[in-house]
Structure formats: C-alpha cells, structure tokens
C-alpha cells in the first residue's frame, strides 16, 4: 500500500512537471532529426540505422536520466521536507523502492521517444499516394 502510493505520488509529481515532457520532446526531436538524416538513402529502419540513432540519442538521454532519478532521490532534502518524511512510519524498502521504481518508469517512458520517432519518420519519407510503391522500392535498394 505504502510502496504503491510512494510510487504513484512520485510518478505523478514528476509527470506533471514541464521538465519531464521537455526531456521527452527533446529526445523525440533529436531522434526524429537523426532518423530523417540517416534515412535519406532510404534505409530508414535498417537495424544499423536504428541502432546508431538509438546510441546517439541515448548519449543525450544520459544527461537527462540523472535529473529525473536525482529529483526522486534528493527532493526531500532539497526542499527540506525530510524531517516530516523520515519521522513517518515507512520502511526503507517502501520509500527507496517506490522512488526508484517511479524514476525508472519515468526514464523508460522518456526513452520511449526513440522508438516512437520511427513512425513519423517512415510516414514523412514515404508519403501517400505512392507510399507502398516508394517504400518498397526504397527498401529494396
């Protein structure tokens, strides 16, 4: 019960912040740009291109992940609310586990910007009405 509520509160608290969505938007935009650039030869979703874009965008995410996790870990001290929290009857496992899981899920969702970009990239490069013909032609190169 307490674990679930600590997780829920932390997740909702950070999900409501503009910063979290900004991270998602930046990753999405960068990944989309990389996909578009690497896809100019038609190799939009080749395994190599996807891996390359994921690694490059992941390098950017490495700068964002600590902000999300750090906020979850250090906010009580930063806001000086820790005496109220630490005097509450909660176990270390519930407190740390709930916070960690929330930060983990938030980071996973931010990182999900990478695979999501493949959809608009494919559609932007393969516009109807020649979608099937153009794509099949390009992908067969």
């Amino acid at each position: 019960m307490k674990f679930r509520e600590i997780f829920r509160f932390e997740f909702v608290y950070q999900a409501r912040r503009v910063r979290t969505w900004l991270y998602f938007a930046v990753l999405f935009a960068v990944a989309y740009g990389l996909n578009r650039t690497s896809g100019r030869d038609g190799l939009v979703i080749s395994p190599f291109e996807v891996a390359l874009d994921t690694v490059l965008t992941g390098l950017l995410w490495v700068w964002m992940a600590p902000a999300v996790a750090g906020s979850a870990a250090a906010r009580d001290v930063q806001t000086r609310m820790y005496p109220l929290i630490y005097a509450a009857p909660i176990s270390k496992a519930d407190y740390l586990g709930g916070r960690f899981l929330a930060a983990f899920v938030l980071n996973a969702l931010i990182l999900a910007a990478l695979p999501y970009t493949s959809v608009p990239t494919v559609f932007s490069l393969c516009r109807p009405p020649s979608l099937s013909r153009q794509c099949s032609f390009r992908w067969q190169r």
Binding site: M1, K2, E5, I6, F9, Y13, R16, R17, R75, T79, R80, M81, P83, L84, I85, Y86, A87, A88, P89, I90, S91
Partner: protein
C-alpha cells in the same frame, strides 16, 4: 502514557556537547522545554522523534523503547520540526493525503475525511488547492501542524513552532496545540517564554545541554515572590550594577533600561519589588540564581 528520558547525552563529531545527561519525566499534557538558541533543544527533539541517535541513555514512551522500537514510536508520533519545507509543486490537499497514506490511514474514504477535518482545523481548507510554493510562512507552519496531527498521535513533538508567526497565527496555533494536549503527551520546545507561560502545565529550562530546572510554571513563579527587584538604570551605570548585584536581566521599557535583580532581601533604596513572571524564572535559572546551575556553583562570591 508518560515519556521518560533518562541520561541522554549527545556529542557531535566537532566536539560540541549538545546534551549532558538529560533526564526528564513528561506526563500527558503540554510540557514546555525552554532554552536559548543553541541550548540543545532541537537535538533532544530530533532524538525523541527518532531522527538522531544519542550517545547514551534511554527514552521510554509508556511500554515503547523509543531508541529501539522506532517503527512503533513513529506510528504514534506527531513531529513538527523547527525548520522544514514542502514540495512546491503540489497543493495542500494532495500532500496531506500522501502523508496520511504514509501514516497508515488506509482507505481513500477515511483519508478524505481526515484530510478535510485537519485542513479545516488548521484553517487551510479555503486554500487547499493552492500550490504550497505560494504559502506564507504561517500557512506552511499550519500545514506542518496538520501533518503532525495525522493519525491522532500519542506523542507530539513541536520544535520552536511559533517562531516567525504573526500574533494572530500564533494564537490560533497555540489554541490548536492546547486542544491536542488534552489527550496526548505534547512536548513544546521554544525560546519564547510566553508560549510556555500561556500553555504549559509543566516545564523544563535547558541551557548548554543541561536541564537547569524542572518545575510547574506557576509554582516556580510563586517561589520567586519577594526575590525579584527592579530599578531603572542608565547605560553608563549598567556595568556597576552588574558588578554589585545579581542582575538576571536588563530590558528596555518605553525607551528606558530596566534591570531585574535577584536578591532574598532588598538590594538597596533604588530598587522596587517586582512581580515575578516566567521570564524572571527563566533568567534566574540561566544565570544560576535558582535550579541546578546554582547547586553546581560554589557559594563564594555569590550575592
């Protein structure tokens, strides 16, 4: 339920001895812990709130060993620290609901009832949807009180609660505390003498980590009857007065300096008998005219 503190000592790594063999028995009701800044009050409060370990001693709340059974204590503890912050991006209702979960108020319906009742009691109901970052110091303090009151605590520890409150906020806050004191052990730590004189049925005076006096405020005041004398004094004559008499305090009154002197009989023609109050008790204890510090001092050279 009684809170028994026995032989609590605490020395910080920098060598400062914050508490020296503190022993107190605190019954149900309002109990004031009075002392100057840096006396060790907050250290004692943090130890009682299970946030800090003492070097030695024991603390017993009824059947609960406070130093060993921390989870049990926290189930029944309300703690309002001297300084605390809140998450700025949530409103009071959400954060209080979160604390209610942490305190073990299980069902959503029960939480809603508790949260509403506490927000109304602390006069925050009308601003419950306002972000906490927009709260004034007094409102934040009242929010802290609401958090501390969650779960009907049997032990309530409030550390310097009225510092920074305006007079109206202070009165409202003290009324809230006195209501709580009817059913729980409430330990009020403060350096404001009026807080103790208005609220507490028992009190202790602490300075430099030592309990100097444990008493009932009214009885302690009674015991000073006929021993406190006052006189107006100029700034130039102040040093002479302090050399010749047991001055316990000097303060400005309508622009003039008035000195209070402790003496068993009249110290001189310039002095008038003063009606003692708790402030005189406090200064008499801190300057070693009454209480344990007097017992420790040698009689030579004493007025």
């Amino acid at each position: 339920m009684t809170l028994q503190i026995r032989g609590i000592s605490k020395t910080y790594p920098n060598g400062v001895q914050a508490l020296k063999d503190v022993a107190l028995t605190i019954p149900k009701g309002m109990y004031g812990l009075l002392g100057p800044n840096g006396a060790g009050k907050s250290t004692l409060m943090r130890i009682l709130a299970t946030l800090q370990e003492p070097d030695g001693g024991s603390v017993q709340l009824g059947e609960i060993d406070v130093l060993k059974q921390k989870d049990e204590v926290r189930q029944t503890l309300g703690y309002l620290p001297q300084e605390f912050g809140v998450y700025p991006k949530v409103n009071a209702e959400e954060l209080l609901d979160y604390f209610a979960v942490l305190k073990g108020v299980g069902s959503r319906r029960a939480r809603q009832g508790v949260v509403e009742s506490l927000l109304r009691k602390t006069n925050l109901w009308d601003v419950r949807e306002q972000k906490l970052s927009g709260y004034s110091g007094g409102m934040r303090q009242r929010f802290g009180v609401a958090v501390a009151l969650l779960g009907n605590p049997k032990l309530m520890i409030v550390d310097e609660p009225t510092a920074g409150l305006d007079p109206a906020e202070r009165v409202r806050f003290l009324n809230l505390l006195s209501e709580l004191g009817e059913a729980s052990v409430v330990l009020l730590s403060t350096h404001i003498v009026e807080d103790v004189s208005e609220l507490c049925t028992r009190m202790a005076i602490i300075d430099k980590g030592e309990i100097l006096l444990e008493a009932e405020p009214l009885r302690a005041i009674d015991e000073l009857q006929g021993r406190i004398w006052s006189c107006e004094v100029s700034r130039e004559a102040q040093d002479d007065l302090e050399r010749g008499h047991a001055v316990i305090s000097t303060k400005l009154y309508a622009g003039r300096t008035v000195a209070h002197v402790y003496c068993d009989s009249t110290p001189g023609p310039a002095f008038e008998p003063a009606k003692p109050d708790l402030e005189d008790v406090y200064f008499s204890a801190v300057t070693g005219r009454i209480g344990r510090r007097r017992e420790h001092q040698r009689p030579e050279g004493r007025p």
